[in-house]
């Protein structure tokens, strides 16, 4: 008998026993109607954006609500310049020359809700890279010292200040993972709670009803931790200029 069958047979045999003290005989699964919403934010898009921002700031993130695509680009640029200045001011010793100090790692331009990011970056002498592959050592060497990442967001959750990102073609994992700073652009107002929405995302994104291969939920970052520091710009109020990318 294979180990698999061995384990399953053992479990089934045990669960058939009438004298088993645990688990209860016929527990019902939690239904959608019964399952509690642990935290939920209320209000319209603007109120949800404000709540999202409040939660994010509690977690040491920053956010900005912008009205137009131009403002979004401006917010992005001013944030990057502020960080660059901060890094320069805090620098002790010689300037590290990785050649990646003024490069931004991002999702493919057509996956970013803010248009014209690469051009705007170029105007400020920042490079932009949305790699098609970050698999080999050489490919990784080209991005490993990049300090800033720019991505879209699959869904944002107002009550916890969380964002969900689902990886896929053009939406790489690296941009929200490798750089020490992360700017995310939710393209829709944050959602009031997690549960069912996350479920729809996870189930709906993949063929055959299976989950998307990789998703992640991101929240704060405490500075003393090993990972990266995250800051976010949040264009919270969608205008016509902010194209909804793909539907959930």
């Amino acid at each position: 008998m294979s180990t698999r069958d061995d384990i399953l047979t053992r479990l089934r045999g045990t669960l058939r026993r009438a004298d088993l003290p645990f688990p209860p005989a016929n527990p019902r699964p939690l239904t959608t109607a019964e399952r509690m919403t642990v935290t939920r934010a209320e209000g319209d898009g603007l109120a949800l954006a404000a709540r999202f921002g409040t939660e994010l700031e509690k977690l040491h993130g920053t956010y900005e609500v912008v009205e137009t695509m131009a403002e979004a680009r401006m917010a992005l640029m001013s944030r990057l310049l502020a960080w660059a200045a901060e890094a320069e001011a805090g620098r002790r010793g010689p300037r590290p020359a990785t050649g990646q100090e003024r490069t931004v790692l991002g999702w493919a331009p057509d996956r970013l809700p803010v248009t014209g990011v690469a051009d705007a970056l170029a105007d400020m002498e920042f490079g932009f890279i949305a790699p098609g592959s970050v698999l080999t050592a050489e490919e990784r060497e080209r991005v490993r010292h990049i300090r800033y990442g720019v991505t879209g967001v699959t869904a944002a959750f107002a009550s916890t200040g969380s964002m969900m990102m689902v990886a896929g073609p053009g939406s790489n994992r690296s941009a929200s993972l490798l750089p020490i700073r992360h700017i995310a652009h939710p393209h829709q107002p944050p959602l009031p709670d997690h549960g069912s929405v996350a479920g729809r995302v996870a189930r709906g994104r993949s063929p055959g009803g299976h989950a998307a291969p990789v998703g992640q939920l991101v929240h704060d970052h405490r500075p003393q931790q090993v990972g990266r520091h995250r800051r976010r710009t949040h264009p919270g109020r969608p205008r016509a200029e902010v194209r909804p990318r793909d539907s959930l």
């Binding site: 935290t39 053009g170 690296s174 993949s206």
Partner: protein, 479 residues
């Protein structure tokens, strides 16, 4: 690597004496766990915490009742997503499976995200013996790996160390100049770990919960190292206990909230990383291969022996944080991967070598704080009592203890004997107490275990029942 003074395999008494003697450690563990407990209480009070606990328990009861079917569903969905599922009866089998995957994928170096399941089966040792390089990427796990120590807490593996201790380790192992600045220490560790992430062939993590309906493994982390582990190396291997399942995505988010609030008092952890399969065509990054190893290692026996309730455990560590015993002795004294009340319940049932494991169910006052803190309301004191009863039933109780209990029961089951024994005890104890200023300060074994550190009062010269009789007699006279 440094040699740690901690010897998990030392006899129980040695481990306890070492821990109890380390007041500095006990005080810092006590401070840290009290803080974590307060955070838990606050974060559960911010929502309907009781209902969250009730619902999470109900969901886990459903999981365990339907465990075989849900495991098959999970397996089918992971496979459909392009992942591979393996089954392991014990740690040795799981180790062989990982080595086999490594051989087939020519993986030499491994980064690991924090995982209790791999600690439980000592996977690092297995891989290192086979010549592989293994680096822990959780900051706490990384620190104790440098120190060659096991974790001492389910969630906070390095809770037994003070900042000064960590600074010493970093100075020694990473050539860091002397500093007590956590920022600088973290930055040094981050630089070191970054290299490992980008270069490792294989990532190994545990699993906080796996969603059966979608075939998704979820890991809950605060440092981002989990997602690095699941995203960067070519091969991603998950080792998970067969009980760590939830039926649906919505159930996962329910447990996620219960877990985070109970573990650290956060609403949510910094990261929740969900993996359902390998990198797909067009993806710029992600693992080529995704393997999930379903580990039994005593869990199906746990269910069969009547301890199934403990399989609901979500490994939040809340029971450790409130446990007054854990606060005094820390995790290492338990001698097992799992410490605290839940460790005392499951260690004797897991397929593991724990020296004097039979002592663990007795290392509790059954005060009940753990049960009240548990996000799934596991009746831990009851399960500890069950262990004690099972030991007695198996004839494993110490002979002296059996005799003592028997003698006690035989004495007090007859009122006459009980009263006579009380009278004798009153005479003897008052003699002893009279010699030492009113209270007993020394007694022969086994009572010396008490009097070594504590006084004991003499028995009353006139017991309550004697006083009662006198009072009744007086009442009669007055009538």
């Amino acid at each position: 690597m440094a040699t740690s003074p901690i010897n998990l395999y030392a006899p129980y008494k040695e481990r306890i004496d070492l821990a109890v003697g380390n007041k500095l450690q006990a005080n810092s563990i006590s401070r840290a766990t009290i803080k974590l407990s307060a955070a838990r209480v606050g974060s559960l009070a911010a929502v309907d915490g009781q209902e969250l606990r009730n619902q999470t328990r109900r969901m886990k009861e459903y999981v365990l009742r339907n465990l075989p079917d849900l495991l098959e569903t999970l397996e089918a969905n992971i496979t459909a997503n392009g992942g591979h599922v393996h089954w392991a009866n014990d740690g040795a089998e799981a180790g062989r499976i990982v080595l086999d995957i490594a051989r087939k994928t020519r993986a030499q170096s491994v980064v690991k995200a924090k995982s209790m399941a791999t600690e439980e089966i000592h996977l690092n040792a297995t891989l290192e013996e086979a010549g592989m390089r293994v680096v822990e990427s959780d900051l706490g796990e990384y620190i104790i790996q440098l120190e060659n120590e096991p974790p001492s807490h389910i969630v906070a593996p390095v809770i037994h160390k003070r900042l000064e201790d960590v600074a010493d380790i970093f100075q020694r192992e990473l050539d860091l100049p002397p500093t007590l600045d956590p920022e600088i220490m973290c930055s040094a560790a981050r630089q070191q770990l970054r290299k490992e992430f980008l270069g490792a062939d294989m990532g190994i993590s545990g699993c906080n919960f796996a969603i059966a309906e979608t075939g998704t493994v979820c890991i809950v982390t605060n440092e981002g190292n989990g997602r690095m582990t699941s995203s960067m190396p070519r091969v991603y291997v998950v080792v998970m206990g067969i009980e760590k399942l939830v039926p649906t995505v919505e159930d996962a988010f329910l447990q996620y909230q219960a877990l985070c609030r109970s573990a650290t008092g956060q609403q949510c952890s910094v990261y929740l990383s969900m993996t359902s399969g390998p990198r797909r065509p067009g993806d710029a990054d992600g693992p080529d291969e995704f393997h999930v190893i379903l580990l039994d290692n005593g869990r199906s026996d746990m269910l069969a022996k009547g301890y199934g309730e403990a399989l609901m455990c979500v490994r939040c560590g809340a029971c450790l944080n409130v446990c007054p015993v854990y606060r005094e002795i820390g995790g290492h004294a338990y001698g097992s991967t799992y410490s605290g009340p839940i460790g005392a319940v499951i260690s004797p049932l897991l397929n593991n070598h724990v020296t004097n494991v039979e002592k663990l169910p007795h290392a509790s006052t059954l005060c009940g704080a753990c049960r009240d803190a548990c996000p799934v309301k596991i009746d831990l004191p009851r399960l500890l009592l069950d262990h004690r009863a099972d030991q007695v039933a198996a004839g494993d109780a110490a002979w002296a203890e059996q005799r003592a209990i028997q003698a006690f029961v035989d004495t007090v089951k007859r009122r006459g004997r009980y009263e006579r024994a009380g009278k004798l005890a009153a005479i003897g104890s008052n003699l002893l107490a009279g010699m030492s200023g009113g209270e007993i300060k020394a007694m022969p074994p086994p009572f010396s275990a008490w009097t070594q550190s504590r006084n004991f009062p003499p028995f009353a010269k006139k017991s309550f029942r004697e006083q009662w009789r006198a009072r009744e007699a007086q009442k009669q006279q007055h009538r």
